[in-house]
Symmetry: C2
Subunit: 747 residues, 2 copies
């Protein structure tokens, strides 16, 4: 496997850049103060570091950081003219500047751009002197005059809406150079773009490859060669094309390519593609490496979809959401990914790596990159390719009416093209999506919205074989619910899930408090317990973050309902985490029990962007697993015994009935298994019986009997926990355990 990410420009000398940055009020002015800048980073963090501010993550410090986004900020870096041959040029390349900016060298404007997802690649050579100053002036963050300070202000830009404040993200709007930047000496005819795309035949045993390269200039009699090395490092293909009019193209065929699979269905073979540009004398002018993974992905209808309703006059059938990879239906178990930092410039490959490994360990195979946040950096997608994690990527639209102004559509066109061009290289990219909840009442967009028609057209043009959906949810899918227990109706997730029959649960949440050490990390000692709304608990989303006031996200009303008044922070946190673990466990297993009509379960959300006091996340900031993560990991094992439990809380003397299942999402059959079910409380046990489960076909569930019993009176005094234990006679069908609430009899 090509586990090492390819290098983009392996052979070019760099001119080191020492950046500083400072604010100013008018475009013509210069900053009065330049402070050292980290690149990539954010102007706010540079300013804070210089002024010795405490971290924005602590207590209410974030407030100190607000408002800086309304100023102009100019980065500058001085450098000496490097030695350049006649054929060499000096280029400034940057993968992302947030958000609207002007690039100058020695005062000469080289580029003006709106949009943080379109890379910069400009030639500075003609402006060079002996001593030079490269500057990047970042304009104030986009806002709409007269709008309240809400996400509405993001609705005519491609700036991620989350920065304007969300139920798990403070209102903090980053600005600055947020991805790698370099000043590099390259040949005048250096690659501007290299591309390797493919089409698989129906039998998936041949790839028709297309290669294309665009150059910055025309080398005399230049030639581009593409070499493909297989995952073992063996060269399997070598083709070349002469350069004409600044570009070169050719095609080739690869027989029997090894197929890329999500990790729970197969291997992740990655082929290395090396494009080399040579001049007439055979000298290498430029070289680029990339990887390619071969897979075919479709969205298909679930079995039986076309038979419903059974009427002569059927209405339109709901849109498909079952992922089919390489001809095989895949139950998508995963999560909604949000930016792991408020300031995306600080996200490193190592941060991505740690979180993505957690996701894979949780048996997730699909990440929905929610449109309210950023499109991730290169290292994210490289890691997903390697780990076998599928990625559903959304354009930066969320919960707003992005209406059809020409200026907005033009920016979106540029940004979506840049995003698709960059991400289509990754086999992990399995779905494109216009954005989050755009067809919902709070957004007000429709199928007629040009932003979405345009995005669909861009994807069809640039990545035609990967599915595009306009938004999530579409008809037949569900977003929500986001609490363990509805504070008004009292309905809990166990009941809510059982009465639904969606084809996909693309968002659902159960909140918990962050682990105690995370809370201690940002809450001043006096504010820690009991949690009070007039403290950082609120700005860190424990209270009034979403609907139902106090319940989002600390959910004290639910805690009191099931457990009573907490006596310590530790107890409160443990109780919220108990609810979260069992709530999520139930939802994931129930979604799987609803297969094949249902084919997707993605919780809201995986991670936090800062230390949330409470949130629906499974992993607290920066990368601290909550107990629910282990519960979800168990619920998402490819094969397991599963029990549909009617509800969470029980009293001795009550009749309990659990429906048994063997769940199998794997591409292999499970053998016959004896599954026993047992209730436990402290030292006490009660057998519910045994089910001799027949074998399960690949990717197929088995429904077993409903085992019933009365919760024994002997369980009184055995603690607060009623355990339901499923034990399988074979390890090929996993055991299971549910931790339910045991009330005392008189409650």
């Amino acid at each position: 496997m090509h586990r090492t990410p390819p290098s983009a420009t392996p052979c070019h000398p760099h001119v080191p850049l020492d950046w500083s940055v400072g604010p100013h009020e008018s475009p013509d002015a210069q900053p009065e103060l330049f402070v050292p800048a980290e690149v990539p980073g954010a102007v706010q963090l540079d300013w804070a570091r210089h002024h010795g501010w405490d971290p924005h993550t602590y207590d209410e410090n974030w407030q100190q950081y607000t408002g800086l986004e309304d100023r102009l900020w100019t980065y500058r870096a001085a450098f000496s003219r490097p030695a350049l041959d006649a054929d060499q040029r000096l280029r400034f390349r940057c993968l992302g500047i947030d958000y609207a900016f002007t690039v100058r060298c020695n005062g000469v404007v080289l580029l003006e751009q709106e949009g943080m997802f379109t890379p910069v690649d400009v030639d500075v050579t003609d402006t060079l002197r002996d001593r030079n100053e490269l500057t990047v002036t970042v304009h104030p963050a986009p806002k709409l005059a007269g709008e309240p300070e809400t996400k509405l202000e993001a609705r005519q830009s491609c700036k991620p809406a989350v920065s304007y404040g969300w139920d798990w993200h403070p209102r903090l709007i980053p600005l600055g150079i947020w991805d790698d930047a370099e000043l590099v000496v390259v040949h005048r005819a250096a690659f501007v773009e290299t591309r390797c795309t493919y089409t698989l035949n129906d039998r998936l045993d041949r790839a028709d490859l297309s290669f294309h390269a665009a150059l910055a200039d025309e080398p005399p009699h230049g030639k581009v060669t593409w070499r493909i090395d297989d995952p073992a490092g063996q060269a399997v293909l070598n083709v070349s094309a002469l350069v004409r009019d600044g570009s070169a193209s050719t095609t080739a065929t690869l027989e029997r390519p090894a197929l890329w699979w999500p990790h729970d269905h197969g291997e992740q073979p990655l082929y290395l593609v090396t494009a080399t540009l040579e001049d007439a004398g055979g000298q290498t002018i430029d070289r680029r490496e990339s990887r390619v993974g071969f897979r075919r992905v479709r969205l298909v209808q679930h079995p039986g979809a076309w038979d419903e309703p059974a009427d002569v006059l059927k209405p339109r059938t709901d849109p498909p959401i079952t992922l089919e990879v390489n001809g095989r239906r895949v139950f998508a178990k995963g999560t909604n990914w949000v930016p792991p930092e408020i300031f995306p410039g600080t996200i490193t490959a190592e941060r991505y790596d740690g979180l993505l490994r957690l996701a894979k360990q949780t048996n997730f195979n699909l990440l929905r990159i929610w449109g309210g946040g950023i499109t991730n950096k290169r290292s994210f997608h490289e890691k997903c390719d390697e780990l076998g994690l599928m990625v559903w990527n959304e354009f930066p639209l969320a919960c707003n009416d992005y209406f059809d102004s020409p200026a907005y559509l033009e920016t979106l066109d540029q940004e979506s093209r840049s995003i698709v061009t960059r991400l289509r290289e990754h086999p992990s990219t399995v779905m494109w999506c216009g954005g989050n909840e755009l067809f919902n009442a709070w957004s007000g967009m429709t199928d007629q919205s040009k932003a979405l028609r345009q995005s669909n057209a861009v994807c069809l043009e640039l990545d035609p074989d990967v599915p595009f959906i306009a938004t999530s949810p579409l008809a037949g899918w569900s977003h929500g619910f986001y609490l363990f227990r509805h504070p008004e109706t009292g309905e809990e997730v166990f009941e809510w899930m059982r009465r639904n029959a969606f084809t996909a649960y693309t968002e659902f949440g159960v909140p918990s408090a962050s682990p105690v050490e995370v809370l201690h990390g940002f809450l001043p000692e006096g504010d820690r317990f009991p949690p009070r709304p007039d403290s950082a608990w609120t700005s860190h989303h424990a209270f009034n973050a979403w609907h139902f006031g106090d319940e989002s996200w600390l959910a004290l009303k639910s805690i009191r309902h099931y457990f009573g008044e907490p006596e310590s922070l530790e107890q409160l946190v443990a109780w919220t985490q108990w609810l979260q673990a069992e709530g999520y466990r139930f939802i994931y297993e129930e979604a799987r029990r609803q297969k094949p009509k249902c084919s997707m379960a993605l919780n809201w959300c995986f991670n936090d962007c800062w230390p949330c006091a409470a949130n629906n996340s499974l992993v607290a900031y920066p990368a601290v697993p909550k107990p629910a993560l282990a519960a979800v990991r168990d619920a998402c094992r490819p094969t397991l015994a599963s029990a549909r439990v009617p509800r969470f809380a029980w009293k001795p003397g009550e009749q309990i009935g659990v429906e048994l299942f063997v769940l199998n999402d794997a591409p292999t059959a499970t053998p016959a298994a004896a599954v026993t079910a047992e209730l436990r409380a402290g030292d006490q046990k009660l057998s519910l019986g045994q089910w001799d489960a027949p074998p399960c076909e690949p990717n197929t569930n088995q429904l077993g009997p409903t085992l019933e019993a009365v919760v024994p009176a002997e369980f009184v005094g055995q603690g607060d926990t009623l355990e339901l234990i499923l034990t399988s006679s074979t390890s090929a069908v996993g055991n299971n355990a549910y931790r339910l609430r045991l009330f005392s009899v008189d409650r």
Copy 2:
């Protein structure tokens, strides 16, 4: 008003062409027999005319015409070389050849094309001799090897699916030159395309115009001038641009353009655009005329759409279907238009004119051009522009899975581009649609189908301000039901409509027999009565045309239910037409009563393609109104008094209650009106009472009281008809009359 259609090429000499045509079996062979050909026309009709066949419309003659589509047919026309100046060229121009064909002059291949909707414009000059032969070889109709003889065979071509057999169309597959063809002497730099597009500002009081012309060659120092004459013939704009690289473009602004409206909302001002190409000396090289009408059209949500369901977690909202024209919501009352001839080459401007005038007289304002048929000729759209009839145009896809083969997608791309380019000139074009019932079980296409994603992208590129829908129905809309009374459940349209609450009824049907004279016209005398399935009644769609066997479309079971056994053809026809008239009356009025949630009612279908024995059409072949047309005309008046009657058939002694409404789709208010309701049977009358209806706001209904009474015993013996008469005190609110069935007491 520019009522005279503009002429496309007003100033070029034509070379007359005398066409003949003959069949052959191999592409290399010549026809053994050439017969005189009518152009435009169809090879089958030419062949039949020469051989003295009886019309395909009579009895079972159509069978004689089948199979001819499986041969090659070559048209030929001999002509002498015309005198050509140095700058003149001879071009063959044809607006449509059905379906795949090769154009040759003197044996030289000039064009090979698949697709009947892309016009031909080829230069034949370089092949000319003194005596010349122009040939057009038409290839066999597309079919799929191994498929049964059904519409499935159309699923990888842009040939209208209806030709392969439908429930109102025999299996007869036309071939041939189906639209105007000419051999014309033009300047070498003649226009290939001229275009005038516009964008209206938000206030609709300024049009930003863009002009573009593409030329066949480069005239030295050429110049293109565009002149716009207003509807009164006054020149209001004159701009010109120099030709560069074979094209010319410019822009201009028109202040306060008169707006085009559907006929029930305003005038249809059409501006004349004259593009003139001049050489350096000011000599006119070419000239084209077109018309432009200024209007802005959108699909918007109905009032209240975003409030439903009233839940924190709303699913996606259904797609919008309310037409908004020039900022005003318009209730769309109309019909599904099908080809008025099996062989489209025989459709003349006069045929279109007659049928379209009928549609306007019926108070229809929207025609859905169903995707199973052809895209109509130029004269159709010109007439719609003039009459103020809005057009919903579908691409040629219907009831099939048009899957994503590259060859099919390429043909569809070409054809859809040609269609949009041609029809976008017409202000009557208010909606684009991917095709008919594609998201239904019997088709199996989804949002992921590339054919539909591509069509959406083509429309966004070429006609971005006109709505596009993927198919009909979408969520929230209804197709069906298609019988007055469900033969299994006994439910009739009155009940079916009342229990539904769709946002649009884009297809619904009530069948009737064709008028007696139409039946006499194609049924041999011995087959006329009683109707028998072993006769042309069946092939002309009276029996077993659709579901429910005998009921489609003569519906004898319903006839017997309501009336008993018919004793004559005249009685049978009258009874079916009675059901049709009252069924359609109820549906149109009920759809209007469901405003504003509902905003569209289009019956299936307007017209017949040949003499149907029975069909859901309102107009029998060739243009004979059925009685239902008058009932629908009344139901679609802009303002009227309306009664929601529970059902169709009544007995004396039964309690009847009718809910009163004033319906107002007009842009003006109605005054207060006293509305009286009365039951009548023969000489007997019974007043149900009076409602003092308040004024209606523009485009708003008023719901009145439910008036109740017992159908009087005195009505016994007063005939078979129970009339419900609504009389308004002001002509601004129209009267109304319903003709219900009066059963005898003992039935």
